[in-house]
């Protein structure tokens, strides 16, 4: 089913939501205008000393009214957002596969993100939402938007300064893996730091404090892109067969930034760094032109296709 067909099936819902959207966008615009005017009054009061008191009072009152309207607009927006996700995204998911469900308030739990070992850095600030769950054959999978950051603190002349750095902003895909394994195998992008780390861990293994060893795999394409570590050399090769390495390379070719993959607790986790927030309703753009869903649908289809791409539903290795 194409985006346009989905949009036409959802026409009635969209017409209803379009009324809601206009209401939200109107309220938001009104609040911005009033807050802007309030600021102008306050600034004018400061600039012209004689009008200070009048500027402060009128500006203050205007600002309060602006913020009240803004808070009402935010409430309206959250209602509109809820309806959009439930009815529009929900229907779009069903059009791809009936098993797909969106749970927009939950995401990948922080504990799972850490235990996936996709990244070595532990997050200090973590947010995950818009979890989509479903299954293809026997393979249960889910994907969620994740924003994980860590904090560094520097001492400056003006005191302590906190800096936030992104570990991942994007989507984490998680699926039940089709082979039995006990250890942990991680596949990370081979950037400069990872390449140096791999070299040290290979040459001076005594310096490596990790429980995982570097795994030297045969595929030159794969090794050019990724560095692999595992708690078990044989198990890593049982999971990363030549076919699996080829498939992961193909999957990686389709994305802008290099993916990270981990195999642990009988699951495969794949992190896709992405800059956009998906499954969010438009506020200042009409719902009726049908094109707003294109990117969301593209992401859903892409995630759904991973099971097929990685052949995760082939259950011939003693795990059903």
């Amino acid at each position: 089913m194409t985006e346009t067909t989905i949009a036409s099936n959802l026409q009635n819902t969209l017409i209803e939501l379009e009324v809601q959207r206009k209401d939200v966008s109107g309220a938001k615009l009104k609040s911005y205008l009033i807050i802007g005017t309030g600021i102008l009054f306050v600034v004018a009061g400061f600039l012209f000393g004689d009008l200070f008191l009048a500027g402060a009072i009128i500006g203050g009152v205007t600002l309060i009214i602006g913020f009240v309207i803004f808070s009402k607009a935010s409430k309206k927006f959250s209602g509109y957002r809820h309806e959009f996700k439930q009815r529009v995204i929900g229907a779009a998911l069903k059009s791809i596969d009936n098993s797909l469900e969106l749970n927009y308030e939950s995401g990948l739990p922080e504990g799972n993100f850490i235990s996936s070992q996709l990244f070595t850095q532990r997050p200090d600030r973590y947010n995950s939402q818009d979890q989509v769950q479903g299954n293809v054959g026997n393979t249960r999978f889910s994907f969620s938007e994740v924003h994980a950051e860590y904090k560094t603190v520097t001492q400056t002349k003006n005191g302590r300064q906190e800096h936030w750095h992104t570990i991942l902003k994007g989507i984490v895909f998680c699926a039940d893996f089709n082979k039995n394994f006990n250890g942990t195998t991680v596949v990370r992008p081979k950037d400069f730091g990872a390449a140096i780390g791999a070299w040290i861990s290979d040459k001076v293994s005594l310096l490596s404090s990790s429980d995982k060893e570097l795994v030297k795999l045969e595929s030159p394409d794969f090794c050019k892109k990724f560095v692999t570590y595992s708690t078990d050399q044989v198990e890593a090769r049982y999971i990363l067969t030549p076919a699996m390495m080829e498939r992961l390379c193909e999957l990686d070719h389709k994305t802008k930034d290099t993916i990270s993959v981990s195999f642990t607790d009988s699951y495969v986790y794949i992190a896709f760094p992405l800059s956009k927030d998906y499954f969010e309703p438009p506020v200042f753009k009409s719902l009726l032109d049908g094109s707003f869903l294109e990117e969301d649908l593209e992401v859903i289809r892409f995630m759904y296709s991973i099971i097929k791409e990685l052949d995760l539903n082939t259950r011939i290795w003693g795990k059903f």
Binding site: K179, E218, Q233, V234, E235, R237, T241, T314, I316, W317
Partner: protein, 185 residues
């Protein structure tokens, strides 16, 4: 004087580290080799069960079954080297493959749950053996590189270490999911 001592200590430390790492690599090769042995044993242990399950159904394949049982009993010989076991495994695999291909003619067997489980365990063990062989080859390459490159070549001479040949890749390793074809038969 102090500088000379520091340089000497550094050279000594470097030498010890390199010597230890060479021994570590050699041990890794031995470990990887024994992992192949363990996996082969696991695979050979599947044969009696497999034969027991299929023999009641596959009345016309008795020659193949006898051959597999015979090879399995040879594999039980404790004096066999891992290379000989690998060779036996190749012959057993060929026999089992031909059995699996003829499953199509025995619909009752094809639907037997025990047989389905055995079939997937067999496939699993096939990939596990391929993984141990690949691990062995990776350890051998690592070891060979270490003893052939300077300064490893100096220590290799002293330790009497020589190059080891990697195992030739099997059909399963070259063809990506050959096991799948068994299920499509």
């Amino acid at each position: 004087m102090i500088i000379a001592a520091i340089v000497l200590i550094a050279i000594l430390l470097f030498g010890i580290t390199f010597y230890n790492s060479l021994i570590g690599k050699k041990n890794q090769v031995t470990n990887a080799f024994s992992a192949i042995d363990v996996m082969l044993k696991k695979r050979f242990d599947l044969i009696p069960n497999l034969v027991e399950t299929v023999k009641q159904y596959m009345l016309h394949e008795s020659a193949t079954l006898t051959k597999i049982v015979e090879l399995r009993s040879q594999a039980g010989n404790a004096s066999l080297s891992t290379e000989q076991k690998i060779d036996l495994d190749k012959q057993i695999s060929t026999g089992v493959k031909s059995l699996m291909l003829s499953v199509e003619s025995y619909p009752d067997l094809k639907a037997n749950q025990n047989f389905i489980n055995l079939q997937s365990t067999w496939t699993e063990s096939e990939e596990q053996i391929a993984a141990t062989r690949r691990t062995y080859n990776a350890s051998v390459t690592d070891y060979n590189n270490a003893i052939m490159m300077f300064p490893g070549s100096l220590f290799a001479g002293m330790l009497n270490y020589s190059q080891i040949t990697v195992l030739a890749s099997t059909e399963e390793e070259r063809q990506n999911i050959s096991a799948k074809s068994l299920f499509n038969s």
